[in-house]
Amino acid sequence: MISPRQLFFTLALARIGALLVLLPVVHAGEAMQDAWISVIVATGVAILIAWLGAYLAMKHPGKSLGRFANDLLGRLGGTIATGILALSFYVLCLIRVRLVSLVIISHFMPRTPGWALAIPILLTACYGAMMGPDTIGRASEFFFTVMAVIIVASLAVFYAWSPERVAGLKPVLSRGLGPVFAASVPATFLGLVSGLKVLALGRFTTEKGKIPKATATALLISGLALLVFAINAVTALGPAQAQRSVTPLLALASSVSIEGVLERLDLVLVAAWVMGVTFDVTALLMSSSILIGDSVGADHRKVTAVLFLLGLVPVSHRITDIFTMRRLHSTPVTGIWAIVIAVGTLAPVFVAYLIKKRKGGS
């Protein structure tokens, strides 16, 4: 079992780790200087929707979505609702594995084949997922602290030694609200998926009453980190340059060199990112396994092993190459994906829960 505090660390660490380098609000849409507003919008919306998931988890102690969806919607409906979310977790897990391996390769090891990094990361995630939520929860406390120290130190270095800040954050909403909302969609989706891990991990969480607060706080803290990252990238690189960069924060970090003290800040960030993303893919794989296992009545460890084997080809294949990544994280794709999760998973389960509650069920 994990405590609400460990649930918070797990959710926050996974999201910060994933966002540390990618900055979806900077890439998507044309928010430009207003990317910071997109972060606020995305964080707010993600918290609202994820809170529904956390509420459902709280109301079904000892059960994951895989079980209580079957109870509420019947076997077929429950399997479909669970399957949508579990598949989303799994696909995102594979995308992240491929992405981190490609970024490392393109920046540092150009002649290393993608699979040589992707498979060890997936294997690590598989091992972590098999260890179970208890181990992951305990590990999250340590890794979150390490990550927090690295981020705070990096930000201090950014402000003290980074290049002249060419761009400012003004003008606010000069392009209207459209681009701001468009840019917030991918970040909302990613936040939403991060938060909805609670539908799997909630089953293992003690003090059920604190689950919604832990979930919302995790999204809030990780949203704050994203806000600071986005402001840094936009003001130092300029919004257009930041948008063009595959990894804006790495681009910014590679422009910082403190003679005799810290020559390669980008390496520090990459190390933190690899740690965070590995943790994130572990949590995604574990959540997916728990949901599928609970839905079909199988041990989630066995499901993890199957998912690992199935994932070997996609993470090694160019179908998930870096050019595809941008499309997968685009506003239309993530928007539709978020709607599918909201309409296909959350809405029917929540409505069924309300109907059951009105009828006098638990």
């Binding site: 920046h107 040589a116 761009a167 003004k170 300029g238 919004p239 060199s257």
Partner: protein, 436 residues
């Protein structure tokens, strides 16, 4: 079972993360310290790479050893892209060329005037070139790579120069990141450090009647470079570019160590002019980026001598005034100074004299800032001050109207009100000395 799995995982990870596919031993790499990029034939570029020889650096160039005493070598290759030129260089280099430690990238003027956007893209896109590398514009990118000074390596000379030269108060540096950011940001044009090298075709010169090679013996050039440079009258007649070797008092010729330094102004990705010496300082006054340097003003006490003051700090507050019909910039400059040198009898605590001194400094700063501003506005027509960016931030809709004609029409005629407030904060270590 768990323990077996854990051990298997560790072994697999150790194999996966060993970096076997990429391994390059240190003795197998050719480390590039600086890169020069010049215009070649047609649309080609000439890429010069200063490849260092760490072994020679470690043992010293004069040690009796079998190690080659050459601390660096400059390769020169022409191709249509930088990447292809580096690949050409690799064909003749027995070690793998590594660009990850490039500290300075020097663009030749001829190329810079035609546009360097594509080459900036190479530098930004290439994850193995650090974005913290300093950009410099020189008469010839290759020429600058041949001139070591107080350091055996030209690249270290360049890197040291980019760190120390701003202390003169007559230049400032820009990294690849800063240049690229200004290229993409509306209403602000990029600049680079500008250094003046010497004509590289003058490799052989006479010293006391004898033909000698003037480049540092520790640095070898694969072949003489002959780059034609059209300076368009940008440089003064006594510039070291035009007369690269000056005769010293001992009668020997001093190799091209006389470095003139300033700022190269760009418009978009094209260099439009140079601001050297006091002109560069005029730009730095108006942007509040002057943190060191020396100011000389006549002694207000009437001695006819000069008082030297060092700049402690400066700042500039730039406020756009945007009425319906008027676009104006109000620039307030604040400068703190300290007295460094003056006539013996001048009492630096005399308030009347101090006020007169500050008035003189105000007038000097105003003159320098205004002179540079006039040239940049009327001649260069490139908003390197970022006034347009201020308009954009304050009123995006107005900026959208002004942007198409900003550099050509609006900026050259922009009213800029300069107001200077200097303060002599300290008299140095003495209030004054009495002459007999």
């Amino acid at each position: 079972m768990r323990r077996t799995g854990f051990v298997a995982l560790i072994i697999f990870l150790a194999l996966g993360f060993s970096g076997c596919w990429d391994r390059i031993e240190i003795e197998d790499v050719a480390i590039v310290g600086a890169m020069g990029i010049d215009k070649g034939q047609g649309d080609n570029v000439v890429v010069s790479l200063e490849i260092t020889n760490p072994g020679a650096l470690a043992i010293g160039t004069h040690a009796a050893t079998s190690q080659s005493p050459v601390v660096s070598i400059v390769t020169r290759d022409e191709a249509s892209t930088i990447r292809a030129a580096i690949t050409n260089a690799q064909r003749r280099t027995p070690r793998r060329i590594v660009t990850g430690l490039i500290g300075t990238v020097v663009f030749g003027q001829s190329l810079a005037r035609e546009g360097i956007g594509q080459y900036i893209d190479y530098l930004v896109r290439n994850a193995r070139v650090r974005s913290s590398a300093v950009l410099a514009t020189c008469d010839s990118g290759a020429g600058l790579l041949q001139r070591p000074f107080l350091s055996p390596l030209p690249s270290r000379t360049l890197a040291g120069l980019s760190e120390s030269a701003p202390a003169s108060g007559m230049t400032m540096t820009a990294t690849i990141t800063e240049f690229a950011a200004k290229l993409s940001e509306p209403g602000i044009e990029p600049i680079t450090l500008h250094t003046v090298g010497r004509k590289t075709k003058d490799v052989q010169v006479k010293r006391q009647g004898e033909e000698v090679k003037q480049t540092d013996p520790a640095v070898m050039l694969e072949e003489p470079i002959d780059v034609d440079i059209t300076l368009d009258g940008e440089l003064p007649a006594d510039s070291p570019v035009l007369s690269p070797y000056r005769e010293s008092s001992s009668g020997e010729f001093v190799p091209g160590i006389t470095i003139d330094i300033g700022i190269a102004a760009y418009r978009d990705d094209k260099m439009v002019g140079l601001l050297d010496g006091v002109e560069a300082r005029g730009y730095l006054w108006a942007t509040g980026k002057l943190e060191e340097g020396t100011v000389e003003v006549p002694d207000p006490g009437g001695s006819g001598k000069t008082i030297a003051l060092s700049i402690i700090r400066s700042s500039a507050s730039i406020k756009p005034v945007l009425d319906e019909e008027v676009v104006r910039m109000d620039v307030e400059l604040h400068v703190d100074l300290e007295t460094r040198e003056g006539p013996l009898d001048t009492d630096m605590t005399n308030e009347t004299l101090l006020q007169a001194l500050e008035d003189s400094i105000d007038a000097l700063i105003l003159h320098e800032a205004r002179a540079t501003l006039n040239r940049v506005q009327k001649e260069l027509k490139s908003d390197i001050y970022g006034f347009g960016n201020r308009v954009y931030r304050a009123n995006p809709k107005l900026w959208a109207q002004l942007e198409p004609r900003w550099n050509d029409e609006v900026f050259p005629n922009l009213e800029v009100r300069l107001q200077v407030s200097s303060r002599v904060r300290a008299p140095g270590a003495a209030y004054g000395l009495s002459a007999r």
